[in-house]
Symmetry: C5
Subunit: 284 residues, 5 copies
Amino acid sequence: MILREKPGTAELLFALRGSVLPHIAPQLALVGVLAVAAMLWDHNVMPLPHLSATPFAVFGVALSLFLGFRNNAAYDRWWEARKLWGGLLADSRSLAREADLFLDDTEIRMQLLRSMRDFLHLHRSALRGLPLPAGEGPDVKLDAMNRLLAEARHNGRLDGFGARTLSARLSGIALAQAGCERIRATPLPYVYSLLVFRTSWLYCLLLPLALVEPAGWLTPVFALIVAYTFFGLAEVTEELAHPFGNTANALPLDAICRLAEIGLAPHLGEAAPPPLQPVNFRLD
Amino acid sequence: MILREKPGTAELLFALRGSVLPHIAPQLALVGVLAVAAMLWDHNVMPLPHLSATPFAVFGVALSLFLGFRNNAAYDRWWEARKLWGGLLADSRSLAREADLFLDDTEIRMQLLRSMRDFLHLHRSALRGLPLPAGEGPDVKLDAMNRLLAEARHNGRLDGFGARTLSARLSGIALAQAGCERIRATPLPYVYSLLVFRTSWLYCLLLPLALVEPAGWLTPVFALIVAYTFFGLAEVTEELAHPFGNTANALPLDAICRLAEIGLAPHLGEAAPPPLQPVNFRLD
Amino acid sequence: MILREKPGTAELLFALRGSVLPHIAPQLALVGVLAVAAMLWDHNVMPLPHLSATPFAVFGVALSLFLGFRNNAAYDRWWEARKLWGGLLADSRSLAREADLFLDDTEIRMQLLRSMRDFLHLHRSALRGLPLPAGEGPDVKLDAMNRLLAEARHNGRLDGFGARTLSARLSGIALAQAGCERIRATPLPYVYSLLVFRTSWLYCLLLPLALVEPAGWLTPVFALIVAYTFFGLAEVTEELAHPFGNTANALPLDAICRLAEIGLAPHLGEAAPPPLQPVNFRLD
Amino acid sequence: MILREKPGTAELLFALRGSVLPHIAPQLALVGVLAVAAMLWDHNVMPLPHLSATPFAVFGVALSLFLGFRNNAAYDRWWEARKLWGGLLADSRSLAREADLFLDDTEIRMQLLRSMRDFLHLHRSALRGLPLPAGEGPDVKLDAMNRLLAEARHNGRLDGFGARTLSARLSGIALAQAGCERIRATPLPYVYSLLVFRTSWLYCLLLPLALVEPAGWLTPVFALIVAYTFFGLAEVTEELAHPFGNTANALPLDAICRLAEIGLAPHLGEAAPPPLQPVNFRLD
Amino acid sequence: MILREKPGTAELLFALRGSVLPHIAPQLALVGVLAVAAMLWDHNVMPLPHLSATPFAVFGVALSLFLGFRNNAAYDRWWEARKLWGGLLADSRSLAREADLFLDDTEIRMQLLRSMRDFLHLHRSALRGLPLPAGEGPDVKLDAMNRLLAEARHNGRLDGFGARTLSARLSGIALAQAGCERIRATPLPYVYSLLVFRTSWLYCLLLPLALVEPAGWLTPVFALIVAYTFFGLAEVTEELAHPFGNTANALPLDAICRLAEIGLAPHLGEAAPPPLQPVNFRLD
């Protein structure tokens, strides 16, 4: 995630970090070259058909519709993923407090909280597609936490009230976990990507035919601006739609896990580690 | 569900798998033929009335409104269905953990979890319209699970805390089940389909009259692009609005059920089956 | 509710069942007659002022805004109402299961479930504005169910866990009931209807002045298409905004109540009635 | 709240009750006079600059964006407020049932339900800005209800299950109360009102310069229609954004409180009062 | 937060308090100067290329899409933050009532409520980025409240029902706290700001080329109006996206904390402080 203030004049002109420009530079170059070629051909070789604005206006409204929908859907995925991790952070803090309140046995409590910490890291790794230790996984860890509770209950160290409270906490964690897995495993329907990219290309490639008459030598400028907005938005959407990826706009799962560690530390009798800081405006 | 990466150049040009093109080819062919015929007739036989952009602009905004609304509503149905199944997956895992915690009797616990597994498959079959075994059904299975709990409670093997916890889990499952049935049994109002398809056809058939003057011999190209965006979106919408169907964009219920089986296996003392993999980019 | 497949060619051309055409035929006829009159007067008697597209484009965007907002709000009402009834269906099934689990006395349990069945029918009748039996009503029935629980509790046949479970179920049902009453008693603000209908009429009546020059003898065709989309959407909205009415797009409350009866039957020791089927594509 | 059927022909032409026309008449008059003056000046004195549609189209899209956003936000406030009061209605009915189930002492129960009734009226008065009795307020009343429960619990007349149930009900009521106070105390950001009203005025005052050429003597008609839609929508928004006010579109809190009284009456052994009826189509 | 009535004529013309005008004055000045320069150069020195409306219409729709999306997302953040604080207010009142009901020991109760009051102020300070006392923080305070409960439970002064109730309250507070931290720590993706500001600048700087022919000497007026709407909306969005900041549109956390103090006072046996009042229309 990029953490920068509202862009000032300098950033507006030059900021590349956090910008989509580097990702769409090849597409822009191609659109620019073709627009220049169309303009030169039209002036010097043979006039191209000069299209009116009509077809592009209709086309543009439809394309905006796709782009807008896809952008909203992708942002919703990103923000829902962030909410789920915010919920997991609150869950880890509440688990520690509920364990203090309902679990008398210090040893079991420590094991439970250490397992919670492990769970968060395993969950993060699974979402990021990192390799997991053999026989380990977020589910295995939650099962282990549940076994701790079952043992404590059978040994009379956890009463019914505590069992209900802590078991509800575990199932809340499992729900957030399944929510993250849902977002990871179910991308936006592929068909939208095809529709959007195909239509954006058609639009940008045909646009010079409509611009060459009214815009003259500014044709490539306008074609580039339009391509910048359309491809830029499509690219941003692609990144936000995968909130657990490794792109600049992905969620800072490492930093959130660290916050959870900070919250668990006093309950484990440990010193809290420092929060992660953004490096070069980027927090991972 | 189609699982592919962001489309590269090759996919943009040639991808048919996951594309709507094959589904709307007949409509596109008809629009293309009529556009060519209108253009030729206008050039060679007798000029057609050349319409200005005005009526189409207004018309196009209204049509975009319908298409956009229907698309949003269909996507919401699809995503809500996915959320409900993600919730069922979490429910099956939490049921196993709660049974471990609150149900001492191993035999009852095994029966309960096996019934849960059967329930998911019966629920999936019912949503997909597959034949159910005689006298079986998701509701029958949930009733059977509840009877297991009632017996355990009367035999003193399930205390009040456990009864509340497990009965709340069952009613959560029943709520998700009713949610899926709601989506299956209540399609998007038919009247929207009529409005959208009728208006799209009128638009595409009349469009050549507005294009023939400004677009010249590019008339069929533009008519086809507009038809592609409008019919393509209408077709995608139709598929997403039925998330439990057998289309390429339907939800991968088999794969989700398999995930639930994997989560239940250790609690049943069984080896976990492997997760389902996409075949030819498609996961069912 | 209309239950039809995706419209094929024949339905696109001729379907009236589920279409709004019959409802807006008078308005369309009036718009058509006036458009023809304007065109003839302009050609033969005296030229009318020929308006440019400008005012209509602005006007059309504003009108689309109203129509789109109202349509979304109406669909949200309809879908929320459907969700509430889907929740009531799940509530009736869970009530039966919870009664099996927590209420030992068969007679009280039967009375409770029969009252639930009566409640659903009374609730449906109240929403539809049908006459209720004297001294009966959904609230009276819920009070009666609560009295059954209170008696069982005082007689020691319902423990604290069961009382909490069943009382939470009743209050969930009361919440869904109040939600349905809210939708029924609080229509979309009347002022939106006035704004939309007044603006639609002004638009359609003035439109021929903008069309007569660019569209020529196609003026009435376009005026009719625009009127079809605007009045059609306004009419659909009106129906969906009243999900408990008797229109073709109202919710099939009879069919949902029947599903609840089917789910309650085995718990009452009765044979399940068959589900309701659509008659002439319509389910009530 | 205005309760009228779908507007028929007569209402479309003449309805003022529930219309925004009376509220925006001065603005419309000013716009009309200025449009006539601009037209006359242009014809008879000296031609004004005749603007093309371009700037107004762009401007109009931006203005629609503001108006649409503000309208959605205001309607969401209004509908959320209605949902909160619908929830309070269900809460009052469920409180009565839960008291019957868990509170044996009739006297305490009566006091509790009478306090609930008082709370609703005090809450309504506070939201409407009416004077409250000295030392009274919705919070004071909820505290009093809680004290009743605390006394019953200490006297052994309310067990743990009942205490949890009734205390959860009270905190649900407190949440709905805080939600209403939030809507009342936090208006839509003022800056939006300024942006919308300033932009609407600029638009309507400059519009005749774009209309005078294409629309001729219809200039004032179009200017008035556009002003009607823009100021009308802004005015409706203003009313809906304050759902607890005294305008025609405010929520009928009196009628909802009466419904709660009707539901509480049988539990208090009283005769139920009749529901409030709309007077001159208006329910308060 | 600015608290003003619906703007009247005087405010429309002159209000600066709560307006974005002061924040965007430099941008507007630059746009105005450039528009005047372009107009003068075009008239007196050498004609600039006169662009048609086409490219700007397409461009404008895309820009509106970005602005609209960003505005919605920012308002949602602002309103969600307000809901979370409204929930915290209700939580503090309900905590006081639940403590009265379930915690017999007056001293522990007083400590708990005083800690709640401290928590709110610490939470507010952390969100606003104010310095916190050494070793203090909202989490530390919640841990201390939990320890109070754990001690009371171990001393037999809090039974299982009370422990579940109060512990659920604490975890609800922790969830709202994590929600606020989420909004504070996760800004809107930076890439949107870049896209919006870059596109707005390009649009406003190129616009005079399209206006100079149709708008003549009104070119700077229209350029300024368009810049006012675009930069104004972008600026408002920036403020609302940071609801815990110190801007005029930030949330009045001081006033909400004061309301919580007023609600806690009677439970602490203290006199309630007066509510905070807006100063110069502004509430902090």
